[in-house]
Symmetry: C2
Subunit: 272 residues, 2 copies
DNA sequence: TATTTCTGTATTAAGCTTAATACAACTTTT
DNA sequence: AAAAGTTGTATTAAGCTTAATACAGAAATA
C-alpha cells in the first residue's frame, strides 16, 4: 500500500490481511503519526490470529518504514514520509494540485494500441460492433512516485484526426477539440477497487491494496462517445477533496458542492 | 465483496487474492454480465499461480453466485443480481438515490457512546484536550443489504442540546441547526480503503475488500468543528456520480461539475 | 468426425503458515 | 524496587496451501 511496500509483504493469508489492514489505516490517517498502536498480543486478539502472525505483519510494516518498533516500549506509527507526499485533487479542477506543492509530474506510457475495447467500454461509448479504439495506458508520477494509472479509449475514427506526435505534446482534450470534436459534457463515476497484479506493480503498491477508481465518459454535443477514461489512484497519495456549502431554506436546505476556479485537466497523452 | 460473499472465501493467500481481484472486477463492471472469462489455465498464468489455486477462487465465486461454470464450455459472469441493486449517489444531493429506485432504507445502530475520539478526529474538530464526543456508528441498508458504514463524532457540548429520542427521529443536521448551531460549510474528502474485520462483517463483505471512503468535517460559521463523519461504502452498491460540463473559452476551458437540484442528507441518527 | 479447449477429478509431495508455548531483555509504571 | 507490559527469540507440531501432473468428460470448432 505504501511507497516501500514494493518490498516483500507477508505470504500467508492472515499475516497479509493484518498487514494490509494496518497499512490502510496508517495511510488513511486513522493511525496518526507517532501514535502507539496496541501491543502484539492485543492485535492478535483483535484480528483473531496468533501473535506470530501479527509479528510477521509488523515486521513487514517495519521494513516498509511505516512503523518503528521499540523493545520493551511499544510500536509507533511513523508516517511522516507519507503525509508530505500526499497530493490533493481539487474537485473543481479535477486536477491534482501538484504545482502548488512544487512537485513535478511525469508520465510513463505502459501500452499503446489500436484494438478492440472491452465490452463495457464499447457499450458506454456506443461503438459499432467490432469497431476498434485507440487504447493507451499510462502511469503518472509525482516526484518519481507513481500515483495514478490511467487508461483511455478513443474511437479510431476520432483518434485518426491527430498524430502520435501530437499526443506527446498536447493534452488529449485540446487535440479532440482541434479535430472538430465538440466536447460537451461528461459523466464521472467515483468508486473503489482493488489493485490487481499489473496495476499493483505499476503503482508500486501491494497487490490487494485499495485504490480510488474513476471512470469518465466524455460525449460530444450529439451525444456520441468520444473518450472513455478509466483511472486508478493510490489513496495514500491522492484524494478527492470537495468543499461543501449548506444552502437553501427550510425543507429545501441541503448540501451543495462549492465550485470555483479554473484549471487544466490531468488527462494528457504521452509518446510511447 | 459481494452479497453472498459472507459465504466462505478461500483461506490461502493466493487463492484469496485471485478471488478478491475477480470479485472486484465483476462488481466494477470490468467483467460484464454474460462475458466468458479466460480459462483456468490462462488465469493461472495471469496471476502466476497454479491451476488448483485459481480453481479454489472460482469455486468460491461460483458459490457466491457471481459466476457460472459450464463443463467443457467455460465460465461466465453472472452479475445480474448485482447490477440491479446498485445505488447511485448523486453528487449534488450527496444522497443515494434510493427513493427513485423504490428501495427502502433502514439503519442499524452498532454503537453509541460519549467517549474520547481518536486523535485525528479531535484534531480535525479542534477539540480541547480530553474533550469527549458523542460517537455513533451505524450501518445503512437498502432492501436489507448493508451498503454504508458511518461513524459520526459530535462534541459533547453540542450533542447535549438534543436528546437521544430526537436522534431516533430527526436527521442530525436539523437537530444541530435547531440547537442554534450555525452550520456553514463542510469539507469532504473521498478516497478508498480496505474492509477490516469489523467493517467487513457489518457490511457483509469479504475482509480485504475495497471500500469507498468519505470523511466530512462540518464547521459552524465561527469555524468550530461541529461534526466529523467517517463513512465507508460498498463499491458494488454505491458510487459517486457526477455530471461534468466543459466550460470556458480558450486557455481557460476546463471541466466543471454540473450542480443542480436539492435533496436531503443521508446523515441521520438512529436510536440505539 | 476429429481436434481443440475447457472444466471436473484425483494424487502426491514439498513447503509454508499458523498456533501454542516458554522465556529473555528492555521500558514504563506503580 | 517491584510489577506490569512490551518486544525479541526459539521450538515444536499440526495443518493447510500450493504446485505439478495426469487423465476423463463435455462442449465448441474445424
Amino acid at each position: 500500500m505504501e511507497t516501500a511496500s514494493s518490498a516483500k509483504l507477508p505470504d500467508g493469508a492472515k499475516a497479509r490481511r493484518v498487514y494490509l489492514s494496518l497499512c490502510d489505516q496508517i495511510s488513511d490517517g486513522r493511525l496518526c503519526d507517532g501514535e502507539t498502536l496496541p501491543g502484539e498480543q492485543k492485535l492478535a486478539e483483535a484480528y483473531s490470529v496468533s501473535r506470530v502472525t501479527v509479528r510477521r505483519a509488523l515486521d513487514a510494516l517495519s521494513a516498509a518504514g511505516l512503523i518503528e518498533k521499540r523493545i520493551g516500549s511499544g510500536t509507533r506509527v511513523c508516517s511522516k514520509s507519507l503525509t508530505e507526499k500526499r497530493a490533493a485533487m481539487n474537485f473543481n479542477t479535477l486536477m491534482p494540485q501538484l504545482v502548488e506543492m512544487g512537485q513535478s509530474t511525469t508520465a510513463r506510457l505502459l501500452s499503446f494500441s489500436y484494438s478492440q475495447p472491452p465490452d463495457y467500454v464499447a457499450q458506454a461509448l456506443a461503438l459499432n460492433a467490432n469497431e476498434k479504439a485507440q487504447i493507451a495506458t499510462r502511469v503518472r508520477l509525482a516526484d518519481n512516485v507513481p500515483f495514478s494509472h490511467l487508461t483511455t479509449y478513443v474511437p479510431t475514427h476520432i483518434a485518426r484526426n491527430y498524430s502520435e506526435n501530437d499526443l506527446a505534446t498536447t493534452p488529449l482534450f485540446k487535440l479532440l477539440e482541434r479535430s472538430g470534436v465538440q466536447i460537451d459534457a461528461a459523466h464521472q463515476s467515483v468508486s473503489a477497487s482493488l489493485a490487481g497484479p499489473e496495476v499493483a506493480e505499476a503503482l508500486e503498491v501491494a497487490e490487494g491494496s485499495a485504490l480510488l477508481s474513476m471512470k469518465r465518459i466524455v460525449r460530444d454535443i450529439d451525444g456520441n462517445g468520444v473518450e472513455y477514461l478509466s483511472g486508478l489512484y493510490r489513496p495514500d497519495m491522492f484524494s478527492l477533496e470537495m468543499p461543501l456549502v449548506r444552502t437553501g431554506k427550510g425543507e429545501a436546505r441541503h448540501w451543495e458542492p462549492a465550485i470555483g476556479q479554473t484549471g487544466q485537466d490531468e488527462n494528457e497523452q504521452v509518446r510511447p
